[in-house]
Amino acid sequence: MSASRIVGVARAVASKDLRIEWRSRVMTNQVLPFAAIVMVLFAFALDNDGILQRVAPGLVWMATLFASLVVVQRSFAVESADSAIDALRLAGVPSQGVYLGKVAALVVQLVVCEAVLAALALILYRVNVDRHGAVLLVTTCILGSLGIAALAAVYGGLSVADRGRETLLPLLLLPALAPVLIGATRATESAFGSDGARAAEGWPWVGLLAVFGAIFLFGGTLGFGPLTDE
């Protein structure tokens, strides 16, 4: 299977997914409000500016993690709703292309989600970000999303492609994403300057995110086809 064909399929799948999301507005009408309300509720629950500023990075990524469950389930529900997944399996389409396309679309959606959440943290929790911090934050969001998407697409394909397996997704995904949660939260802390952290301290964590993303992107490319195609 030639690389250019895989890339072509990936592009088709990704743009198809994003178009569907754009049109159905599930992201803007359901996922983002859900994530935002989590942030607001935490502000009420903690009711202390000092604590809010300290925990803001963790909240951003916890909310992202939960939102990712919804986004992934949605991404595969679209395929299984009218059995398009069967058609994809049948079309002799390289599964690597489908996987990479799904990951790409998920990354875009997650980055949008994180951008909104980070903006909320800046406004609601009065966090400050300098220029170096902003670069770090953007890099963290992209690589963190990549790690989440790379793993979520595999486990999503396994657990959502068939009905009655939805509860499996959080069980498989959340413990495996612990390194992303830890790494992204620490990097974001540095970017936000929470607890007196400096932006330079965040880059090793970005390295962890990159390693995680690379490993599972590679593993997912190999494993997605055999895992979902039964």
Partner: protein, 237 residues
């Protein structure tokens, strides 16, 4: 898994020449389990190129599973199944490249327009714009229908879109599960015409259908599935 994909000639012109050597479908003593239930219980069936086979049988007899087996969508527990000379168990990718399957679902994305669905599939399988236009024309999909979201189409229009997708995918074996379901009389006639055209164009068609009088006129051969096995019922008409 997909080890044979690379070497397999993907263009259907090549696979047609393969087909002339062997039966399109060659299923022997196939057992397919759904959980622990044998939906197919030692079914045996051979289909030659250019046939239009109508599969009949009561609900739950195993018609759908037979079609899904031919498409390589369900694993074989026992027996053998070859489609276009390729083993369905070990060489699914090669089988599927030639198979169009239309089940109870249409496999379309409801939020996209019919045209977007078509062009997605053409992007994915590498078909040209002219092929897409030809397929849409053949299935009678007007500009207006093409720019309508699939979720707003009628059942018949969805079916036609799905058939157009199948044509874009250059399937040479068409597997259709109750294609007439939910259609009005003109819609059913249209489907019949399309199927005859497909056979005339060199495809092989297998249709699972409840409707006896309709299939009698349509089929070149009729078979019946009873208790997970295949019984030839009507001869060649």
């Amino acid at each position: 898994m997909a080890k044979d994909v690379g070497g397999f000639p993907r263009r259907w012109v090549c696979s047609v020449s393969l087909v002339s050597e062997t039966s399109v479908v060659d299923v022997r003593d196939a057992v397919v389990l759904l959980g622990s239930f044998p939906a197919l219980a030692e079914a045996t069936l051979t289909i030659e190129r250019g046939e239009l086979v109508v599969v009949q049988g009561a609900n739950g007899a195993g018609k759908t599973t037979l079609l899904r087996l031919c498409a390589g969508l369900v694993p074989l527990a026992r027996g053998t199944a070859r489609v276009m000379g390729h083993d369905v168990g070990s060489n699914r990718a090669a089988v599927r490249a030639n198979v169009g399957f239309l089940g109870h679902a249409n496999g379309l994305y409801a939020d996209l327009t019919a045209g977007e669905n078509l062009s997605f599939w053409s992007d994915v399988v590498g078909a040209s714009r002219t092929e897409v236009a030809a397929a849409a024309h053949r299935m009678g999909l007007s500009e207006r229908l093409l720019s309508t979201q699939v979720g707003r189409l009628s059942a018949g229009q969805k079916r036609r879109t799905a058939l157009a997708v199948m044509a874009v995918r250059r399937a040479t074996l068409w597997l259709l599960d109750e294609p007439h379901a939910g259609l009005d009389a003109p819609g059913r006639d249209e489907i019949d015409t399309l199927l005859r055209d497909a056979v005339a164009a060199g495809a092989t068609v297998v249709v699972a259908s409840h409707e006896l009088e309709r299939s009698a006129s349509l089929a070149t051969r009729r078979i019946e599935v009873v208790g997970g096995r295949i019984v030839e019922s009507g001869g060649h008409s």
